[in-house]
């Protein structure tokens, strides 16, 4: 299948891309790794007249330590994140999550900015970005703004990014030493997408209770979310005893998705099971 005809533009800088976005308006579409956009263009479900390729914007692909914060450029590929020494050392959860996305071909092309801007409800990254309380920088004609992960995912494939804007980078505080973390997913065998994916970061206090827990869940509902009910059920309690009861609340209040691969009931059950496993795996790695 062939996409309908379009003009290809290679942006040289963010400024350049923003200029083209405002010039082409509704007819323009940003191209990052293209793993979601190109397939729907081939089916002619999307027919943008102008594709604005961001892959030539070097600074968008950088991963660096910026005065203590780890900054991951929007065009960093999953493979770049997974293999970055900095990310592996300071943001192990993000590296672990990146390594579990799709297959090697997808990871070589797909980008973190593309993934979160598309906001597919089954994408892996959003769970980790939520659990790590990442901050997303969005640039537009009016300047740049920073949006917290919790305020970024608004609804099904709908984010805080407005027309004419570009996600340029994500910034994270490093995971403090001693915290345990894990990303676990039920993998859809054909696509590699997460039927349900759970990212957890846990801090254990000196008295062996759970000091804090941050849990991000993807795949279950129309948008990824922080499982606050799970987090509060764990906080202040001895983790080994509280885990099962906390994980049982993973799907509380969520209108679960249903499709030919998994019913809403099955997805909710997967969320509870994978939350328990992710919590257990995170605790096993946590040090007091």
């Amino acid at each position: 299948m062939y996409p309908s005809a379009f003009d290809y533009h290679r942006a040289a800088s963010v400024k350049d891309a923003l200029r083209m976005l405002s010039e082409y308006g509704e007819d323009g579409k940003l191209l990052a790794g293209g793993h979601s956009l190109i397939p729907i263009m081939k089916l002619r479900l999307a027919q943008p007249a102008h594709l604005i390729d961001l892959s030539g914007v070097r600074e968008l692909a950088e991963i660096r330590d910026e005065s203590g914060k780890i900054v991951v450029g929007a065009m960093a590929t999953h493979r770049a994140v997974e293999s970055s020494a900095l990310v592996r050392a300071k943001l192990g959860l993000l590296a672990q999550c990146a390594a579990m996305i799709g297959d090697i071909q997808v990871r070589n092309r797909g980008t973190i900015g593309g993934s979160i801007a598309h906001a597919d409800p089954a994408a892996d990254y959003p769970a980790a970005v939520l659990a790590l309380e990442g901050e997303i920088t969005i640039e537009g004609a009016a300047g740049r703004r920073v949006v917290k992960a919790a305020d970024f995912f608004l609804d099904l494939m709908t984010t805080a990014v407005r027309p004419g804007e570009i996600v340029t980078q994500l910034a994270f505080a490093p995971i403090p030493p001693g915290r345990g973390f894990a990303y676990l997913k039920h993998r859809q065998p054909a696509s590699g997408f997460a039927t349900v994916g759970v990212a957890a970061v846990i801090a254990i206090a000196k008295n062996a209770t759970c000091e804090s827990a941050r849990v991000g869940i993807t795949g279950l509902g129309p948008k990824p979310f922080r499982a606050k009910a799970v987090e509060s059920a764990l906080a202040g309690n001895p983790p080994a005893q509280a885990t099962a009861a906390a994980a049982a609340r993973a799907a509380d209040g969520i209108d679960a998705l249903a499709d030919i691969h998994a019913s809403a009931e099955f997805r909710a059950e997967l969320a509870r099971v994978y939350t328990r496993r992710a919590l257990e795996a995170a605790m096993a790695r946590a040090a007091v």
């Binding site: 729907i40 999307a46 409800p121 609804d155 494939m157 709908t158 129309p222 499709d259």
Partner: protein, 176 residues
């Protein structure tokens, strides 16, 4: 695709019913609605420009209302198509008064969606439909609130007008 649910709107049943039977006002509330016009008694034609992510398309279709029992119930039959797919199906709408000031809207429907859209969209079509329903009801609630505020304002105006007439008449009588 089966859709069913219930939402409560804060307006008396008659006003909700009137809103749900007014194509001009409905057109403003339906996400992406570009046109909604009456084709005949209880029959409407319209165009929607909707989509999520990069998958946007223009769909045109017909909507028929059957089995109408004011102000409580009707059945909708929809049939629409666009370049990327088609949809047809039917559903019911029931309005139940919840006290004097609010109305429960119950809906249940079964819609068939087909075409290229389903090839990639199967995973998200249900949630996309739910999202648009949510947007519709939020807009309906806002419209009903605005309407109520307008009524109160008009009542206030009439009351002030009446009071000034009374004062005027009274002053006329005092003079004599």
């Amino acid at each position: 695709m089966k859709l069913a649910g219930e939402t409560v709107l804060s307006a008396p049943r008659e006003r909700v019913w009137n809103l749900f039977n007014d194509p001009a006002r409905l057109a403003k509330l339906i996400p992406g609605c570009e046109k909604l016009e009456m084709l005949g008694p209880d029959e409407y034609g319209g165009t929607l420009n909707v989509g999520i992510a990069s998958v946007k398309g223009v769909y045109s279709g017909k909507l028929k209302l059957e089995d109408k029992r004011a102000p409580a119930h009707y059945r909708m039959v929809v049939d629409g198509k666009g370049k990327q797919g088609f949809m047809r199906g039917s559903g019911t709408l029931d309005l139940e008064a919840r006290g004097a000031k609010s109305t429960a809207v119950k809906y249940a429907g079964d819609v068939q969606v087909g075409g290229p859209l389903v090839q990639v969209g199967q995973r998200v079509i249900d949630s996309a439909a739910k999202m648009m329903l949510g947007q519709f009801f939020a807009a309906a609630e806002a419209e009903l609130e605005a309407e109520a505020a307008g009524t109160v304002a008009r009542q206030g105006l009439m009351l002030n007008l009446w009071r000034s007439i009374v004062r005027l008449v009274a002053s006329l009588f005092r003079r004599t």
